[in-house]
Amino acid sequence: MAGKLDLDPRVVREARALAARAGQPVVDLARSHTTVSVERAVLRLAGVRGADQDGIPWVNRLVDAVRADVGLEHGVAVPVFHAMRATGVDDVTVLAQKAAAGAVRFGVPLKKADVTAARRMARKATGDGLRTIDRRRAERERMIKRYGDPAQRPWIYLIVATGDILEDIPQAQAAARAGADVIAVIRSTGQSLLDYVPEGATREGFAGTYATQENFRLMRAALDETSKELGRYVRLTNYASGLCMPEIAALAGLERLDMMLNDSMYGILFRDINPIRTFVDQRFSRQVHARAGIIINTGEDNYLTTADAVEAAHTVTVSQLLNEFFAHEAGLADWQLGLGHAFEINPELPESFRLELAHALLARELFPDAPLKWMPPTKHMTGDVFRGNLLDGFFNLVGALTGQGILLVGMMTEAVVTPWLSDRDIALQNVRYVLTGAGNLHEDFVPAPGGFIQRRAHAVLAEAVDLLKRIEGDTLLNAIADGTFGIMKRPADRGKGLDGVAKHAEDYYNPVTEALES
């Protein structure tokens, strides 16, 4: 596939080097801070389960209690396991319940031996959690070996979004039977701003279903059944982004989700979450994904819903390079990088289709080993569902012509409702037609040397390099504050969840990070 654009390898190398330099300060920030959600993720891996009668997870109650007593800056692992030893409680959830009742005090032990002992216990407990994640990963690999991967690329990715896990399940199974390789359960609109992960099976989401460990489990079990029935491993996706990225990443690992929406900047830009909070959370969550063998999906497509897809094309490229850098740094391999981009150019624009081809091919050739995630038209979809199905067909064609890895299937009702059962069926029929009839057309698609498509790709890459230079000079945080991405201005000292961030103390300890970085 590579080579159709005749990109200059030096320019590509320069772009990567710039992204690394622009990203490094943020990595340094992430390595020197923790957040309430990172600490809760640690405790979830250590075994804290369940919620109080108001639905507040015990893990939140426990971290709040620790924080109240000693702050976050030491990490919660040592205070918590020290308290376990001190109180003789041997179940972390019970400890959390006692702590919530005010029956436990937390402190950082002064004696080195106590610290060592607490650390050892913490290591062991979280090690159990990580081992479960490892088992899930092995399980996935076994099932893929048994049932097989999809026969074709791109993988076909479908959304369910009823708000009710019990409606979602049959719809997801029907979608898989109809040809979906990946099912994503969209999240209820409010969830990403909740600073806790809801509990249990849920039936009351708005335009999506809550991401909970139990919902993950139910859907994965249902899709395992369907995988067996179909003789094809059906992947499950959910969303990490939001105030609870680290925890949701942990839960996803524990319940064998296969892909997670996880963007380094989405929460900042589109949920007004504090930048520092997000950067810390995303790093930890990606380390967990790396361990779990989960493929991440980044969110560059979103920029093109608020910014113009032609003007802002290079911001997508810049963001992909940054996401790649952060992902590699967190330990993710290229096959785990579902970098996002989208078919969002105004269809009235002359040459719109060729511009789409240029942008999609640029991404393909910049990231030859990543399973790029190709997102359908949304912004220029209207209530004209007949036209909508047509646009989706041309979107599918770009996907096939440029070798995209994951095709998020567009719905003709994009501008109307969250997808109906029949919308998915019509959409899949559309994908099938295009892949069957024109799946190999890429052999005959050879952008003219020096022609429109090559020129456009080169221009976007050049703009991306320019922008990266500016970002490197001025810092990524300032660039985000200035509205560089998606025209959303997000200063580093604003946004939700900042109060959940703490700078590491000298003695900060996190057994999970330790294990994941070893």
Partner: protein, 244 residues
């Protein structure tokens, strides 16, 4: 369950999609008129999601919404297959045993209709959907008159061939051409031949309502996706009387 409702993404939500044109220029009032129509059709709420002016005085609308109508599948009237589906072998065997002569079938596309692909699919050896056509049946003698056959010619040929059954295809439906032609055909047979001598009259085509046989004066109607075997089995059932 016998009472059901349309299904968008949740059981019982009643959601449907509707589109139409109104002969009015596009403005707020036109949009209101579109919603009025949707309401009259039982959609409430009716969500107008698309309105596009066309030419001078027309607007095209797409409406989504919930209908409150209940569908009672128990009340549905359909022409169920009331005869056994036989294999070609069985068809031939029954005719041979019971009729002791070949059964004569005359087929045609009448009026100005020239769509022969459908009737050919039923009659020609080639058949359709993996099934051979009636010509392939040893005990059926098939005369395929082709397209644009006039009713008098059809009656004449049926008489000459001593047709046991006449098979007529109608594909063009604009201005109810298919209904008019079918009525003209059945009337001509009624006029030309006494009740006992009249062949079995069968019409087929993609847009017929199978419930209208009596109204059109024919014995049976076959719709979209009919296969030759169904027709052969029906012929045996109606003319030779069962497979035993």
């Amino acid at each position: 369950m016998s009472i059901v409702r349309p299904y968008g993404d949740t059981t019982g939500d009643g959601m449907v999609q509707l589109s139409f044109t109104l002969p009015v220029p596009h403005d707020k009032r036109a949009e209101g008129a579109a919603i009025q129509l949707a309401n009259k059709m039982g959609m409430d709420p009716a969500l107008l999601v698309h309105a596009k002016p066309m030419g001078d005085g027309f607007t095209f609308f797409v409406v989504y919404g919930r209908v409150s109508h209940l569908v009672d599948t128990g009340q549905v009237q359909v022409v169920e297959r009331d005869f056994p589906l036989l294999s070609a072998k069985e068809v031939n065997a029954v005719i041979k045993r019971r009729l002791r002569r070949r059964l004569n079938v005359v087929g045609a596309c009448i009026g100005t209709d020239a769509h022969t692909v459908g009737i050919d699919a039923i009659l020609n050896v080639k058949g359709i959907a993996g099934e051979k056509g009636l010509e392939y049946y040893r005990e059926l003698s098939v005369t395929n008159m082709g397209a644009q056959v006039s009713v008098p010619d059809l009656v004449e040929t049926a008489r000459r061939e001593k047709a046991d059954a006449v098979l007529v295809s109608q594909v063009v439906t604009q201005r109810d051409a298919h209904l008019q032609n079918t009525r003209a055909m059945s009337a001509a047979f009624r006029e030309a031949l006494p009740a006992g001598k009249r062949p079995l009259l069968i019409v087929g085509g993609p847009r017929f309502d199978e419930l209208m046989a009596a109204e059109l004066g024919v014995d049976r109607i076959f719709g979209r996706g009919t296969t030759p075997r169904e027709v052969a089995s029906y012929l045996v059932h109606a003319l030779v009387g069962g497979s035993k």
